[in-house]
């Protein structure tokens, strides 16, 4: 295949596939906790981090990581006080983040292209160093998810009951929010700050249409993510469209297909039971 013969495409495919494989694993927990938009919010703060890095002349990766980790801690504190969701302070952080990010990048003389690159991803411009950094972040997130799978499921499903049964819910909440920040930063170059959050949520929504268990939903979401990343990255090369957009639109397509399949399956099941009752 011609696309695979280019080194920039190899880097693009490796980075997007890794991010899209791990992001749904994190997304399953935030969706179950009704915080589907938290990744989007953290992404806004990551943009401020990128802008800050432009102004100070440091690595955007480091700037985004620092500010998103700070935001993760702030969100955790807010959640502990029961103020997450519909809270004005939360909106201030998110919209303040994106406004600050644009201000910083303009102030530092960052061009529109670099801003768009961070917002919507530029996987074809990745260096091998960036690919390894993304791989390290994804691996770190994967290790945390696998090691703490049981406790994270218990706080995602029913936090009060988990707290009563002795699960350290505060610490796990903090870990989950930090992991969201890590995956947003990991996906920043590959998919963009605004689109990476979509790959946390949409593949999970798609696989939940057909799965009957939590583990199945998570693994299915990861498979959908990998499929969309491979197809999207290679398809975007031939169709000459932006890679991030192609991947996320494919994931939306998967969701719609899964929803139709589920409806058809339910209609068939109802029809079968009616036929059985008639006989």
């Amino acid at each position: 295949m011609e696309a695979l013969s280019y080194e920039f495409m190899q880097r693009s495919i490796i980075a997007t596939t890794l991010v899209c494989a791990v992001a749904p694993l994190v997304g399953a927990f935030v969706v179950q906790r009704r915080q589907a938009l938290i990744g989007d919010g953290v992404g806004h703060v990551a943009f401020a981090g990128v802008g800050l890095a432009f102004v100070t002349g440091t690595n955007p990766f480091v700037g985004a990581l620092l500010l998103t980790l700070l935001a993760a801690y702030a969100l955790f504190r807010m959640e502990r006080r029961g103020r997450l969701g519909g809270d004005l302070a939360l909106a201030m952080i998110f919209y303040g983040g994106i406004a600050l990010g644009y201000l910083f990048t303009q102030r530092a003389g960052g061009g529109l292209n670099s801003v768009v690159g961070f917002l919507f991803g530029s996987p074809n411009n990745l260096t091998w160093g960036q690919v390894w950094a993304i791989a390290a972040l994804c691996l770190g997130v994967l290790v945390v998810i696998v090691a703490l799978y049981g406790p994270l499921v218990s706080i995602a499903f029913d936090e009060p009951a988990a707290r009563v049964s002795g699960v350290p819910t505060d610490g796990l909440q903090l870990i989950l929010t930090v992991v969201v920040a890590l995956i947003v930063v990991g996906g920043m170059y590959a998919l963009g700050i605004l689109l990476v959050a979509g790959m946390m949520v949409i593949p999970v929504a798609a696989s939940s249409q057909l799965s009957r268990s939590y583990r199945g939903t998570m693994l299915g979401g990861s498979l959908v993510g990998v499929g969309c990343a491979l197809t999207g990255a290679i398809g975007a090369f031939y169709a000459d469209v932006p890679t991030g957009s192609a991947i996320v639109l494919l994931a939306v397509g998967c969701y719609l297909a899964a929803a139709v399949l589920r409806a058809a399956r339910q209609r068939y099941a109802v029809g079968s039971s009616r036929r059985a009752a008639t006989v």
Binding site: A28, V31, Q32, R34, A147, L148, G150, P151, V153, S154, F157, D158, P160, A161, A162, R163, V164, S165, G166, V167, P168, V204, S208, S211, R212, S213, Y214, R215, G216, T217
Partner: protein
């Protein structure tokens, strides 16, 4: 024995007593704002006892149990679990809690088996995996609550009664001595209430679990509850008439 008189005395809650009550409130006052929801409440729930907590919506029943479970902290007074102050209590596996309508809140599919396994998390700690005896216990509680056949079903696709039984199975998986049920019959049809009731009877009679049953619907606990406590205007009143202690044979016959 006049249990109301014994409650007023408020004795027997001392720590480290082997026969300490499962739950004990000593002059507990609590309010979300400056206005107290509960005022100087004292009560005890002893081992193997079935206590129903009734009262109008917003009277403070759930608040009281959240205090008892350490999810809220009293402004004044002491709450004890098995003789230990709730702030210092560590043996949380001894307490099973079924919050109100917990199963119906699942956004993603979570199978009954996965739900029951989450009950073990606190007991196992962060990194330990379930061992064979944990799996045996899981099988036992799935059978006990009549949901073994539904183990692979997503809980949010089950009926209200089946969801409640799955959640009670989760609460029982650590073999607790105290089970707290918050409005377990909400959204549950008449047939399912009957099944739920039979399961609770078995828990009290055979498994000897203390039960605190919060409800505004007396049908769920009539004939089962040893005592009925009403929460109203910040105070708790024992509605049970003073009566002599039934023998175990009479108790069995009554059911």
């Amino acid at each position: 024995m006049d249990r109301r008189r014994e409650d007023r005395q408020g004795g027997g809650c001392e720590p480290k007593r082997s026969d300490a009550p499962a739950l004990c409130f000593e002059q507990v006052t609590f309010g979300y704002t400056r206005v107290p929801v509960l005022r100087e409440v004292s009560l005890q729930v002893r081992g193997g006892e079935f206590v129903a907590l009734v009262g109008p919506n917003g009277a403070g029943k759930t608040t009281m149990m959240r205090l008892g479970l350490g999810l809220l902290h009293a402004s004044h007074g002491t709450v004890r679990l098995f003789g230990e102050r709730v702030e210092d209590f560590e043996d949380w596996w001894r307490v099973g809690y079924v919050p109100q309508r917990a199963g119906s809140g699942a956004v993603l599919p979570v199978s009954v088996e996965e739900v029951v396994r989450t009950g073990l998390t606190g007991h196992l700690g962060l990194f330990r995996r379930p061992r064979p005896h944990h799996r045996e216990r899981m099988e036992h509680v799935l059978d006990l609550m009549g949901v073994a056949g539904l183990r692979r079903q997503p809980i949010n696709e089950l009926s209200g009664g089946q969801q409640q039984r799955a959640l009670i199975a989760r609460a029982l998986v650590t073999d607790p001595s105290l089970l707290v049920l918050d409005e377990p019959t909400t959204g549950v049809d008449a047939d399912a209430r009957h099944v739920l009731r039979e399961a609770l009877e078995h828990l009290v009679d055979v498994e000897r679990v203390s039960v605190i049953y919060i409800s505004h619907d007396p049908e769920g606990f009539e004939g089962l509850a040893d005592r009925v406590l009403e929460v109203r205007a910040g105070h708790v009143t024992d509605l049970t008439r003073p009566q002599r202690e039934e023998t175990s044979e009479e108790r069995l016959w009554r059911r």
